[in-house]
């Protein structure tokens, strides 16, 4: 029985691991675009650039021709980037009470407050810790 419990715990840990990190970094997101759409980009978007959504717009225009995987992933990539940006934009506000409580007198800028919140992790509210995770700031 003990073994079964151990096995279940191991599974539960594995299953819960991805749930914690619900957003991914910009590098990871855009890497997916390169991997899933690289071939289509080289075929249909030879003159488009990464700037100003050039690649995304070009793939959209050629969606009838690009691979199914690229069509699925290019949409995912955009939402991953959006989610990460939104998560980062909301950290300061979500953590404002924790900052005031645990990082009083810590000077703003250059990541000083974040460093303080990371150090105070055991005391910091679950909400703020989650916000830090989602922003990719840990």
């Amino acid at each position: 029985m003990r073994q079964l419990i151990f096995a279940i715990t191991a599974f539960a840990m594995l299953a819960s691991a991805p749930a914690v990190a619900q957003t991914v970094g910009f590098a990871e997101a855009i890497k997916m675009l390169g991997a899933s759409c690289g071939k289509d980009i080289e075929t249909y978007c030879k003159s488009a650039s990464l700037a100003n959504n050039g690649i995304t717009n070009c793939l959209e225009k050629n969606k009838a021709k690009v691979s199914a995987k690229c069509n699925a992933d290019r949409v995912t990539v955009l939402s991953l980037i959006r989610e990460r940006l939104a998560a980062q934009a909301s950290v300061a506000q979500i953590c404002s009470r924790d900052s005031a409580q645990y990082c009083k007198g810590v000077k703003e800028g250059a990541g000083h407050i974040l460093r303080c919140l990371l150090k105070a992790q055991p005391s910091v509210s679950a909400k703020c810790n989650t916000a830090i995770d989602l922003a990719g700031y840990r």
Partner: protein, 193 residues
Amino acid sequence: MKTYLLAGLSAAILAVSSVGAAAQTKLNRNEIINSLQGAQQEVDLTADQMQKAAIENIRKYPGANSPHDMPLSAKLATLRQFNVEITFEFDSDRIRPDSYETVGLIADALHTPYLQGQTFVIVGHTDAKGPRQYNLDLSIKRAQAVREALVTTFQVPGQYLFAVGLGEEQLRDPSKPDAAVNRRVQLINLGYK
């Protein structure tokens, strides 16, 4: 019962090893952050001055190769900086898909509170093959392409981000002017403005 345990264990080992593999990738965000953070409060240098120094160097000392380092090079060497390799289409400012991840990593680093609010210059460099003016122009376009990608696709605040091209005026290895090591994109922290 035993099967459950085995299944649980092997899944756990798989998870551990995949984390290990991820940690071994050549370049990561924290490496960029660690090299760039801790800028002097005020750096007495602007992107515009850097660009002018390169243009001036070609005008004053024309020829196939620059006879010496660009003015400002000693000063540049004292600043917090990081070199990355970004591959472009031949003769073009188009970033190749295999370098998207690197641009994303720069975005990851610049979007952390450790670097926010500081001014950065993206500096393009070429090797010494080809005419200097041509190399200068190409490096300017490439640095601008990286800046644009960061500002638009990844929404890095544009007011803190500048693009400069130094062509072949600031070789990384002057003893091997045509070597690939000279082709690079450099990030330099110009501190708080």
